[in-house]
Each structure stands twice: as structure tokens, then as C-alpha cells.
């Protein structure tokens, strides 16, 4: 099962994990990643802009690619949009598989692709100024190991 959601509302990690556990007894491993808003440099809030429609299709394409590469039993991706505060959750990626290596690798693959291909943009609000976050070269480098 693959579930992909783009939403303003927060998500409940426990509920997402419970849904991953519910894969018919075949799962031996679940790997999850949660991305959060880091409150460094006086960050007050962060607003996530996104391209509705393309986000879903781009993430679905990577989910399909992950399923081709690893024996995945269940996969869940939740990405929030809108205004978030330091400490808020941004993204959840969870993968259930028979063995841990596939679960870890698929989760990392999905996060690397999310960061470099899914059309989201972060606008950071600090005292008196707003700045669009620049793409990081390290993120481009981390995607290359999967190519």
C-alpha cells in the first residue's frame, strides 16, 4: 500500500506507524523519518509553498521507483504546507519491508528525492525579514548516489 498526502494539518506519527505495522504480518522492519522546523538563527516561522498536483505526481513517481528497487510492503509519505513554527513537523516518510536494509534505504532514497525533485519551497520569517531558502548542493550530491 502506498499513501501520499499533502496537507496543512499536522500528522500523528503514531497513527502513521500503526498503519505501516498493519501489513499482514509480512513486515519485519519499519523505517521512518520525520523532518521538523529547526528554530535556528532567530527563525520565527516558515511557510511552505507548493505546486499542487505536481507534488503528488512527482512523489508518486518516486514511490513507484522505490518499489521497483526494494521489496516494500507499505509506504507512507505526508508533507505539510503553509505556515509552520520551530518544532513543528514538516514531513513523514515511512517504509515497511521484510528486512531493515530495504526499509532504511528506501526511506533515505525517498527523502533524497523529496528534497531535490518535489516542488516545495520554504520561506523563512525572521525579525523584519523574509528569505526563500536556497537549494543545497549537498542535496544534489546525495541524489547522485541513487542514479
Amino acid at each position: 500500500m502506498t499513501e501520499i498526502r499533502i496537507q496543512q494539518a499536522d500528522f500523528e506519527p503514531g497513527a502513521e506507524i500503526a498503519a505501516l505495522e498493519d501489513s499482514g504480518g509480512a513486515a519485519g522492519a519499519i523505517a521512518t523519518f520525520i523532518g521538523m522546523v529547526r528554530g535556528d538563527g532567530g527563525l520565527i516561522s516558515m511557510t511552505l509553498d507548493h505546486y499542487a498536483g505536481m507534488c503528488e505526481s512527482e512523489i508518486a513517481a518516486h514511490a513507484m521507483e522505490a518499489r521497483k528497487r526494494w521489496p516494500i510492503l507499505a509506504l507512507r509519505i505526508v508533507h505539510r504546507t503553509g505556515k509552520l513554527a520551530p518544532g513543528d513537523r514538516i514531513v513523514f516518510v515511512g517504509v515497511a519491508s521484510a528486512h531493515r536494509q530495504a526499509a532504511f534505504q528506501a526511506a533515505e532514497f525517498l527523502m533524497d528525492y523529496l528534497k531535490t525533485r518535489a516542488p516545495f519551497w520554504k520561506l523563512e520569517q525572521r525579525a523584519g525579514e523574509e528569505t526563500w531558502v536556497s537549494a543545497r548542493n549537498e542535496d544534489d550530491a546525495s541524489i547522485r548516489r541513487w542514479q
Binding site: 523532518g35 511552505l48 509553498d49 507548493h50 505546486y51 498536483g53 505536481m54 505526481s57 512527482e58 508533507h79 514538516i90 514531513v91 527523502m111 523529496l114 528534497k115 531535490t116 525533485r117 518535489a118 516542488p119 516545495f120 519551497w121 520554504k122 520561506l123 526563500w132 531558502v133 536556497s134 537549494a135
Partner: protein
């Protein structure tokens, strides 16, 4: 043709989307950018350094050499920063 703008590209151009009839000179993303840059200061600022701008046609990442057809949905945005 439907045009969409995101993040600072949207801020510079001053609108999230628009519908435009393209002159015959517009056949690729690159010639579309040349056309848009004539449309005003915001456009000129957004596309001043085209290397900073990414493009998707019909919701697929592509590049400035991509050929355009009537009815395409073309989106311009900075490199993505989600996750």
C-alpha cells in the same frame, strides 16, 4: 497557454498564474522566457539570470530546450527546497 509561478518567481512577477496567447515566435521554453522578459520589469527581474530558474511543462521537470505546444501548462520556479 497556462503559466504558473512559484516562490520568488511569483513574488517578482506579482501573480501566481496567468493564461496567455503565445505569439508564433514562442516554440520552446527558452523563447517563452524571451517573450515574457519583454512583458515588464517584474518578468525581467524574475528571468534576469535564467540559470536560477527551473521549469516544468505539464507538471514534469524539464529544461529550457523543451518544445511547447498550445494548451501546455508551464511552471517557473526556483530550485526546490522541500523535505
Amino acid at each position: 497557454m497556462k503559466l504558473l509561478y512559484f516562490a520568488w518567481v511569483r513574488q517578482k512577477i506579482g501573480k501566481p498564474e496567468e493564461q496567455l496567447d503565445m505569439p508564433p515566435s514562442v516554440t520552446t521554453v527558452s523563447t517563452l522566457v524571451d517573450f515574457l522578459r519583454q512583458r515588464g520589469r517584474g518578468y525581467e527581474e524574475a528571468f534576469r539570470n535564467p540559470a536560477l530558474v527551473r521549469v516544468a511543462v505539464n507538471q514534469q521537470h524539464t529544461d529550457f530546450n523543451a518544445v511547447l505546444r498550445p494548451g501546455d501548462e508551464v511552471a517557473f520556479f526556483p530550485p526546490v527546497t522541500g523535505g
